[in-house]
Subunit: 218 residues, 2 copies
Amino acid sequence: MRNAYQEQLDRLANGLADMCNLVAEALDNATRALLRADLRLAEQVITDDARIDDLRTAAEEQAFTLLVRQAPVATDLRIVVSGLHAAGDIERMGDLALHIAEAARRRHPDLVMPAEVAPYLAEMGRVGSALARKVGEVIRTRDLERASQIETDDDAMDDLHRHLLTMLLNPTWPHGIGPAVDITLIGRFYERYADHAVALAHRVVYVITGRMPDPISA
Amino acid sequence: MRNAYQEQLDRLANGLADMCNLVAEALDNATRALLRADLRLAEQVITDDARIDDLRTAAEEQAFTLLVRQAPVATDLRIVVSGLHAAGDIERMGDLALHIAEAARRRHPDLVMPAEVAPYLAEMGRVGSALARKVGEVIRTRDLERASQIETDDDAMDDLHRHLLTMLLNPTWPHGIGPAVDITLIGRFYERYADHAVALAHRVVYVITGRMPDPISA
């Protein structure tokens, strides 16, 4: 019985880690769609998001079943409760990738991003999806050290986001208000995506140590 | 024993409802601070947010204790699990009010919002805080009909948000890119605030009926 129970806990964690890989892929595709004005790829991200929503529901049901059947306590209960929160965070990351894909679709077939902005968005996409993959590994392995690194990785995203806003607010910005408003929102989507990865890493720290790191708020 | 247990469940719900009132007040104050360039009020919202964060932690601990001591099932388990999610949503609403207050502080002592924008933001503030108060009542009373209304109330927020963006993107917008970028983000904060209220209402529907309404994604 104990084995079946441990297996259920592992299955929950592995399912969440798989979700992390899916939202990483979604962000990579959304970024590519945005930078290449690739309508087909944007549509694919939008369609694939339903799968992530389903996995969230499945993870919540698994967690719920574990609570009912096993009434876990201590670390096991922290795993299950954190799993419930994690499923929500990861689904939200998928939604944010979806929003970036929607922005790409809205802009199509206009030429892509202003040339000076594109490298920043490309880098935000890279940093974001790397964070998602890393946090997936952290959920699978419960590696405290790697979980703690994720906060530092997120600093890179914050820097990129600040640079992006500085560029938009530069008096010499030549592309007008429409693109500025668009890029403001897109930048916010990347930044929030990374914030959710940090929140996930905090939950893993909580599972291992029983204590939450200081709350983030962004 | 059963009575103490029911009392704990009620205390959890009432605590969450109280949090809803606090984040409603935070949004009202943040909106006022923004529209009147009231630095003192902005600072107050920023300081008060720590209290909301503490209440979230307290609600999560209550839920955790309930899971350990009572191992609830069926509706009671749904109440506790939804309470965990709700605490996160409400805290996030507080963070979004905080972000609006921070925007007000950043703008100070510049003159407030462009005159044509101010009424929209005032109305978004009113709609948002009314949603928060209503969802607090819904959490307290588990009134299915009122919970279902909240989605409709949120449509008003979406309309306001669309109008706001249209105004920014109008070729005759005379205030330049800085305010446009600022107002884009502020508008997004109000919209997300309302989305969380809808998510909370969905959770109440789930507690009552055992089924989630269709997922929102915004």
